[in-house]
């Protein structure tokens, strides 16, 4: 799909991605990236990838709990971003868009995984084959997620886990979470409060056993 560069109607050229050093990208604000996109969309996209690839990857990893799935999701998010004509439009909430696309893709993967697991269980076959293939990163994640509060999060619903992840792992503001989940700010406030109260209950039950 061709895209305008912002100034003219030149289609966005392919195969010119030159990822800039991460340190340079980290210091660039979203507004600056949008500003750069009006002159050089390719460079703006490079900066965007550098700035958000870690966070998008880890966001996908926290939801899917599978490093390879997370890798594919993060790739898809940025490829889709590359083809998204509004990505650098003034007023377009790029960060929220990236997290929203990522969250939706992860939900689909988790849902499909549960469905496939359910089918195999009904057929009387072990669904162990659908478990994640452990890489070194999966092993680290499993270890860290198997203890403390992160482990207690397993007892929460996927929706509650996602909103806690967006807030406390991905460090998004309340307004950004509202944009990602496409809900009102008040809804974000209540949706964040309930799982935290529940989390305390889960941890207390664990201590009592």
């Amino acid at each position: 799909m061709p895209h305008s560069s912002g100034e003219g109607d030149e289609p966005m050229a392919r195969a010119t991605l030159k990822l800039v050093p991460k340190a340079e990208a980290a210091g660039v604000s979203d507004e600056e990236i949008h500003d750069i996109a009006t002159r050089d969309r390719e460079r703006a996209f490079d900066l965007l990838v550098r700035k958000y690839r870690d966070r998008i990857y880890y966001h996908a990893l926290y939801i899917t709990r599978d490093s390879e799935e997370a890798f594919d999701v993060a790739q898809d998010v940025f490829v889709r971003g590359y083809h998204e004509p509004r990505l650098f439009d003034p007023g377009f909430r790029t960060k929220a868009w990236l997290f929203r696309v990522c969250t939706n893709r992860c939900y689909n993967i988790v849902r499909d995984r549960h469905r496939r697991g359910g089918i195999l269980d009904r057929l009387g076959k072990a669904s162990a084959g659908l478990q994640v293939q452990h890489t070194a990163i999966d092993a680290v994640l499993d270890r860290e997620m198997s203890e403390g509060v992160a482990h207690a999060m397993d007892a929460l619903s996927p929706e509650h886990r996602t909103i806690l992840t967006l807030r406390y792992f991905d460090d998004l503001s309340y307004q950004e979470i509202a944009d990602v989940l496409q809900v009102k700010l008040g809804t974000v406030m209540s949706r964040l409060s309930r799982p935290k109260v529940r989390l305390h209950g889960v941890l207390s039950e664990g201590e009592g056993e």
């Binding site: 890798f71 490829v79 990163i137 680290v140 997620m145």
Partner: protein
């Protein structure tokens, strides 16, 4: 502010994200509600939620692979099939990807019902039109016949028409009931002359009144 509301605002209250007015209202509530105070204290006492991260060397290798793979995909122009079309295309693509929450079965059923409704409305409209046309034709026939009968009634016994009301033949449309002539009340002798104006025209009359089909 009630307990339910306060417990829905625990997180923003502790994160300092509440507007001043609501923050004060929560503060005022927990001064008098031990239960809500206990909930807030318990949430505040939760260990911090920290994001698990892979060791740096693993991360470096991972993101090198990520960059190379992304470059390759963009260079090849590979579209993951999740490009965002708009309008009907978006709906169809969304259904195909199961990103649209409406199950396909429900969507198909809805579409079927809508098609049946539209067909029913169109059929009904056609039938109503036909009926209206038929009623209009019959009314025209009845009116013409009534005029003829009125003229016949006014005719004098010697058979002369009243002044200014000479009988003229009434031409009925082909759709008029074929038994119309026979249905007319016999008065001065009914006769009929079929085919006086071509094969499709029939004259039915008693005395001077003539009804021609």
């Amino acid at each position: 502010m009630n307990c339910w509301r306060v417990q829905n605002l625990v997180a923003p209250f502790l994160d300092g994200e509440l507007p001043d007015a609501e923050c004060e209202a929560v503060g005022a509530h927990i001064e008098v509600c031990a239960e809500c105070l206990a909930v807030i204290e318990s949430v505040e006492a939760l260990p911090p939620l920290t994001a698990p991260r892979a060791p740096q060397e693993l991360e470096a290798a991972l993101f090198d692979r990520f960059d190379a793979c992304l470059k390759e995909r963009l260079a090849a122009g590979i579209d993951p099939g999740i490009d965002a079309p708009t309008g009907v295309g978006a709906a169809v693509a969304g259904l195909a990807r199961r990103e649209v929450r409406v199950p396909m079965v429900a969507a198909a059923a809805w579409l079927g019902v809508m098609v049946m409704l539209a067909g029913g409305v169109a059929l009904n409209h056609t039938k109503v039109q036909d009926l209206e046309d038929s009623v209009a034709r019959r009314e025209a026939i009845i009116q013409a016949l009534q005029e003829r009968v009125a003229v016949a009634d006014a005719r004098s016994d010697d058979g002369t028409d009243p002044p200014g009301r000479a009988m003229a033949p009434v031409f009925l449309p082909p759709s008029a009931p074929s038994a119309l002539g026979a249905a007319l009340p016999p008065r001065r002798g009914l006769y009929s002359q079929p085919g006086i104006v071509g094969a499709s025209v029939r004259q039915a009359s008693y005395d001077a009144p003539r009804v021609v089909r």
